[in-house]
């Protein structure tokens, strides 16, 4: 070691390593927009399917969920391709992405099957969505050690459980409440955190 190398310089090197490693890490906060997007999509589809939206265009209620979900899926795909352009992949990012992709595909197939089989029921619908979103949020929260997302997972699971015991209207309210808190509020919270992190600025070498 060079005698002139001070402990201050060494500490700076250690901090540089930590900050650069953090830069390479995938941040779930960056995905806040997708939580808000899907939250809004659930609310629009619910409003359309339940006849809360007027006008001739909105009269085809049976198209509400398939059309809104496909539109949200396409918007998410476009957003992801733009966001990930030039971004390096990480093992953790791949693992979390795999959970959400698998959940999305499974949810789409199961709900479409329920709709076309005519066995659609609000209780089943809320229980399946709540259960699957609960699992995805919980797995992601455990991997990231993120308590706020774990709380979202618990709210989704609670809505799924509640839907098994209450009336259809109450199950619908549980779904809307979970959508509001776990998609829109949580998504906005994640976006604010990401915005603050960007304002603080990255440490440049």
């Amino acid at each position: 070691m060079d005698n002139e190398t001070s402990s201050v310089e060494l500490t700076e090197r250690l901090k540089l390593i930590e900050s650069m490693m953090a830069e390479g890490r995938q941040r779930t906060e960056r995905w806040g927009w997708s939580f808000v997007l899907w939250g809004v999509a659930y609310l629009v589809a619910t409003a359309w399917a339940s006849g809360l939206v007027g006008g001739s265009v909105w009269s085809q209620r049976y198209l509400a969920w398939p059309l809104v979900m496909i539109a949200a899926g396409i918007a998410t795909g476009v957003g992801i391709s733009r966001m990930m352009k030039g971004q390096p992949a990480t093992a953790l990012g791949r693992a979390i992405g795999a959970i959400w992709r698998a959940m999305g595909i499974s949810l789409f197939i199961v709900l479409m099957s329920l709709a076309y089989s005519g066995r659609y029921d609000t209780h089943v619908f809320v229980a399946i969505i709540g259960g699957m979103l609960g699992v995805a949020n919980m797995a992601s929260a455990i991997m990231l050690k993120w308590k706020m997302q774990f709380a979202c997972a618990m709210v989704w699971l609670a809505s799924a459980v509640v839907a098994c015991f209450v009336t259809a209207n109450q199950a619908g309210i549980a779904f809307l409440a979970a959508t509001f808190f776990c998609q829109i509020v949580f998504g906005v919270y994640a976006m604010i955190r990401e915005s603050r992190r960007r304002q603080n600025g990255a440490v440049h070498a």
Partner: protein
């Protein structure tokens, strides 16, 4: 008294240390991403990456994506081991200085 570990001079350079730290957290990274994260100029970044490549700490892959050239950098096992040794040495030196 235990002998103090030497700091690897290849890694000790500030920009090279930043580059290895960045690459340690990702599978592979584009030149443009590394430039954005470090704020370094093209010339300086290229020179430091070449030094790391010559030391066997990073590997380079050049390819074309949609007819555009793309240069990808990956950390090698030797690079990972060297960074781990550097951090251990750094901690030991800091421990001794306190």
């Amino acid at each position: 008294m235990p002998e103090l570990l030497e700091l690897n001079p290849v890694i000790h350079g500030k920009l090279r240390l930043a580059l290895l730290s960045l690459l340690s957290g990702v599978d592979e990274a584009e030149f443009t991403w590394l430039r954005a994260k470090t704020g370094a100029t093209d010339g300086n970044l290229g020179a430091q990456l070449t030094k790391l490549e010559e030391a066997g700490y990073v590997s380079v892959e050049k390819k074309f994506v949609m007819r555009k050239p793309q240069t990808l950098y990956r950390m090698t096992e030797a690079g990972r081991a060297a960074l781990a040794e550097y951090v251990a040495a750094l901690k030991q030196l800091l421990g001794a200085a306190i």
